[in-house]
Subunit: 321 residues, 2 copies
DNA sequence: GTCGAAATGAAAGGTTTCTTTCATCAGATG
DNA sequence: CATCTGATGAAAGAAACCTTTCATTTCGAC
């Protein structure tokens, strides 16, 4: 076999960098664009393993990615490791030594991308963590209940909250009928919200700055007997009093703009919970559709050629089931 | 004190309890007093591994404890596992289920809301952290530069990405002129994107599932000489090749839907950075306006009473600015 | 259409790891 | 002291794993 140019054969591994102690993720990023489709799937699996890489065997990773063990072996060599065992060892020490998120939340460690961006992310990590800490489980459950029980559902969001409202609606239409967005361009609120009834509900995204109309909408719903869920920042006060349930999110921004990472996360959870509560059947059907789509859709990674499950009797085949 | 010890030979393992799902530590505590000296040392090593048990081989644990591999094999059987591999698998799932991520995040013991929501938030913390770890500073700087230098800027987002695109646009219009959203309902793309020039740029939000039109748009921009920034998940491949700069976000969702907390955060940072780079004057002026607004606007927080509390007729029409 | 390069999985090969057997050793008991 | 019980490691044996080879497939170029 004549090895020339950049052909990648088994015999010609990239020259090993002397004492390369970059974490696995960094290595992946460094070569990601040059990876093959199979390898990219592997990369995803590895990253998804959330730092638990060392807990897996190469073959397991391969199975999860739907590729052969051989490809896995090649993959880790490509990442600059001598072999999988070295990768595993490295991952293990990374875990204990460098990478607990712990350090990330304690602002300003060097693991994050340098500079402003690191600070920014640290801020959002805090926003998420704080939001989670102060979330009232009862309120959350109640909110889910309201959305589940609603016959018709309006989602309201102005200004900064409009994008969030749109997002929420995009999720909820997957699991529920009769979900409407307010305001719709070109319509007046009167048209939008006509005929609110006691078995309807509204989901209000109310981050500052809240136009006063927001309170009027909430009051209107209250008068109509409809229940309301408000998602808002900590400054909401008068508005909050008008809602049946309030879920608060930390949204302090590190720089010019407020952050909506935590609201996004809360909305995601809320909609998932509603979907699950609405019956697994409906959801299963929908996720099934989703998966079907993914299979039919090129998905941008290229055709997924699954090798017939490597070994049906494999011990780990049922690990996650 | 003669304890009547049950003979323990290889052949006579304790009868396996049907589906014993106690964590490893609990098992150890349950039998600790009955362990031999070697086994106690092993037990200590296992506990010291802090849940990373799955990352070690039986032999390694034995080495650390200063005992033979044979003793290790016996030890795990004594803990009620069929063999070491079963123990390893159990430890791994414990990690994901029993002692969830948020203990790793250093937010502290028990402070996150319990249950599913905690797991959900933990997932998003991971998404954020991993996005930060993996972010290429050079790419980020380049993306900022492209957006700053753009004479006209289009923001593109379909499906799931539409809300994000809308959000990005909402931020960017604050700091830049000539920022347009694509697609706009009722217009064809041809109308939207007509006349792209080399000094224009497009910001593409491209999370899966990506319609093929996305690639066409990127190709179009490339042919026109306009630079492009793509924000996408890890599966973007063919699409990514068409963009000038790619910023990748982790968006794995804990439940039904993908998460967009990290993209939200990245967009926020990106827009802030663009704003800052565009000159402090402009930004200062804008933030000044912002603060002024806050002072004049009741903001829902203070006892400030609006003179005319009911001028709702047209007030919320200014939602965009 | 043909050719070649690249990618990939099946299978073989070689290595490591886990388990069991077995002999030794330590401590208790009579 | 002799004997017995149980713990323990060495080593053999078995099983699982990782790597490499090699044939096949895919994809693009000509």
């Amino acid at each position: 076999m004549t090895v020339k140019k950049t052909a990648r054969t088994e015999a010609n591994a990239p020259e090993p960098v002397a004492s390369d102690d970059r974490p696995v993720e960094a290595r992946i990023r460094a070569v990601f664009d040059g990876l093959t489709a199979s390898e990219k799937r592997l990369a995803e699996v590895v990253i998804d393993s959330q730092g638990d890489l060392a807990a897996f065997r190469a073959g397991e990773l391969a199975d999860r990615a739907g590729v052969s063990a051989a490809t896995a072996a090649r993959f880790f060599r490509r990442l600059g490791y001598e072999n999988y065992d070295e990768a595993r060892r490295a991952a293990r020490t990374e875990r204990n030594w460098g990478s607990p998120l712990y350090e990330l939340t304690g602002i300003g460690e060097r693991r994050l991308a340098a500079g402003d961006f690191g600070l920014h992310i640290a801020q959002d990590l805090q926003n998420l963590a704080r939001t989670a800490e102060m979330m009232n489980p009862a309120a959350l459950a109640s909110a889910i209940d309201i959305l589940v029980a609603a016959r018709r559902l309006w989602i309201v969001g102005f200004r900064n909250s409009a994008a969030l409202a749109s997002y929420a609606r995009g999720l909820l239409v997957h699991v529920k009928a009769d979900v409407r967005l307010v305001p719709i361009a070109g319509q007046t609120l009167a048209e939008d919200l006509v005929g609110l009834r006691p078995d309807d509900a509204i989901l209000v995204i109310g981050f500052r700055r809240r136009p006063s109309i927001l309170r009027e909408i909430l009051a209107l719903a209250g008068e109509a007997g409809a229940r309301s869920v408000l998602i808002a920042d900590l400054t909401a006060d008068r508005t909050a009093r008008l809602a049946t349930v309030v879920l608060r999110c930390h949204n302090r921004g590190h720089s010019l703009f407020d952050s909506y990472a935590a609201p996004m996360s809360v909305l995601n959870h809320l909609c998932s919970a509603v979907g699950l509560a609405l019956g697994e059947e409906a959801v299963n059907r929908l996720t099934e559709i989703e998966r079907l789509h993914e299979r039919l859709d090129p998905l941008d990674v290229g055709p997924v050629r699954r090798p017939a499950a490597r070994r049906a009797t494999s011990k780990w085949a049922d690990a996650e089931k």
